[in-house]
Amino acid sequence: MKIRYAIILSWAILVIAPLILAWNQLESIAERNILQTIADFNYKFQTKDSISFTFLVASLSTILTLIIGLPLAWNLGRYNWPHHNILRSIFTVPFVMPSILVAMGFLALLDWISIILEHNHSSEIRFYSLLFAHAWFNLALVIRFCEPLLSTIDSSYEEACRLLPSGNTNIGRLSKFWLPLMWPNIAASAALVFVFSFTSFALVKFITPSQRNLEVVMSNQAEWAGLSVPSLSRAPSEIVLASSTIQLITIIIALLLSSWLQSRSSGHHLSTLNDGRIPMSFNSMRGIYLLVMLVFIISPMLALVSSSFMIRENDMMVFSFQGWKSAFGGSHSPTDVSQSLFSSIGYAFMTILLSLPIGYFLSDSIYNLEKKNPRLALALDVLVMMPLALSAVMVGLGVLLGLIRTDPELARSWWIPLYGHLMLTTPFVVRVLLPAMRNLNPNLEEAAALLGANYFKRLIFIRLSLLTPSLIVASSLVFAISLGEFGASWVVLRFTEFTTLPVMIGDLLSRPGYDPILRPAANAAGTILLLITLVLFMSVERFRPIGSGGEF
């Protein structure tokens, strides 16, 4: 019991302390309060139009994601396809893809399209590509929120609908049955898609380099913000203070909306344990649609891999291994692929070792409190999810500035990225373990207790044994997120010598001037990261039972 409270307290300090210290540091350097900095925000040349751009991109991306995602969720949820689990894995893999890889995949796709059409892409094309990249990345959220309900709903409800006057047409059933049933799930997923598009960093930074959302604005100012050099750091501190505040308020509103909408979802009452899907083959219109969607999902990944073997020479793309040689030789980056990969894997393993037990105890605390004190459970849940309400760049900046405020030397420590990764991954562990704990039959542990098993025996042989599939899913999610984490690492690693693979890729893509090797080298490093993420995700997805989802 005491350990549980110690962990809750440590988590609260871990999350809140650096942010308070960071805001305090920024305010003291800016010498202005938050409201004044927000009032001036749109008049500064570094930040002009960034608020409207952020809202526009997030809103349009959300609409596009729903347009693409809902028919896909319907087809995956209502029909049983050959190799269904593999299909489902492919359509949900984008969510665990490192965002920097998505950016590179879409850039490579744009390059191929411009070569085929012999026409250079305009800034408008880049803007639309950004929207499609967001839709590609967030498609899994719509599927995870809507598909489980569609796949497990008792078929007798739709059959009853068909026999009644209001439900005897497809449109009638859609408008009178499915939409009223599904709208909380749809709206909850839309709110989360909005959050992830609002806080998008790598995609905006690399796909639309001439435009800035709030996240890119913060990252651009990160070098000087909060440092004790007032002449250089006052303006950056003001900008980061204002952007982070606007971002935090918007995201908290969206997350609260998502949480409230999820609690209104009544569809689960209609679910059965049976698989209610109708068998379907690819030899149909629906099959053709699904194949088109498969091409949409796979093409950025294929473009990334193929571009790693190509180099631009006199406006022609030529097959070459130079990108791979440069990536492994480190000739165009501070470290080579193997060193960066070693650092990334090291950080990922250390993150698992820390976030899994912390996430377990936090989930266990919420689970126990739900029965005794639901309000306190909700408060703890919000506290656990708080890092998700912050963006990766904000977490990185918060950690960094908080540490600078405490001791500037700490900012050069090797474990700094670990702090950020821990904050960003632990909420996902809780989101995986908590629903799994709620699904455990409480009588099992009670029966074990009555058979004489003490706490540790019950924990190891009943609780953890039954949670093993969820623990594997959570570990792989932590590993994938940590391995591909870019925003926080990009901000904090500038002071250290420990470069992770995404940071190495970001460094290659951000080099000033034109060098034909840089993109193929970044694509080669990206291909390594892509393959690791794909293998990890595909091997773990089979542990996820039918009907699971809704969380992560």
């Binding site: 099992l444 009555l450 058979l451």
Partner: protein, 203 residues
């Protein structure tokens, strides 16, 4: 001998109010009553899975209040049987085997409940009646000083229910331990019990 003294328990409504019960050292008592009358709650209080708001439970003269469920030596068969789905029949029984007991005890008890050679079977592959027997066997192998049965036959067909209830009674009687059997079926209560206690709904 079990003594429940002035047990009260409330959730949103009062479920048990100053309830008293005595169960003799080898007596089988059936608790009969409608849903919501507090039958299952009483069993959970007796074995320590829940605390009463007031009142005491004594077993062989010892106040059980401070004793955790795993130390009370009271076995229970749950309504949903609570068989561990990740373990096979043998390992479910092994979980209940007291330390220093011979592993052969598992085969003996399986034979006793008529499930010889069922050890390697997965829980998911058992029928309703077989699952019920395994759940009973798992409780008995722990050598409890008392056994509580919370409507374990409720999901079975009437015919199987009647024949199985007689078998269960025979097995409990052969161990000479007290038992409380919760049911809302008067026929089963009559077959199983030496004495029937009726609880009225407080809702």
């Amino acid at each position: 001998m079990l003594v429940c003294e002035s047990i009260s328990k409330s959730y949103e409504n009062e479920v048990l109010s100053n309830f008293n019960l005595e169960v003799g050292s080898d007596e089988i008592v059936a608790l009969l009553g409608p849903s919501g009358s507090g039958k299952s709650t009483l069993l959970r209080i007796i074995c320590g899975l829940e605390n009463s708001d007031s009142g005491k439970v004594f077993f062989n003269g010892i106040d059980l209040e401070e004793i955790p469920p795993e130390k009370r030596g009271i076995g229970m068969v749950f309504q949903n049987l609570a068989l561990f789905p990740h373990l096979n029949v043998h390992d479910n029984l092994k979980f209940g085997l007291p330390p220093n007991s011979s592993i052969t005890r598992i085969s003996e008890i399986l034979e006793l409940v008529g499930l010889k050679n069922f050890g390697p079977r997965k829980i998911q592959h058992l029928s309703g009646g077989e699952s019920q027997r395994v759940a009973l066997a798992r409780s008995l192998i722990a050598e409890p000083k008392m056994i509580l049965l919370d409507e374990p036959l409720s999901s079975l067909d009437a015919g199987i229910k009647e024949s199985l209830s007689l078998e269960v009674r025979k097995m409990i009687k052969s161990l000479s331990i007290p038992a409380i059997y919760v049911t809302h079926d008067p026929i089963i209560a009559n077959q199983m019990a030496d004495r029937i206690v009726y609880l009225e709904s407080n809702i």
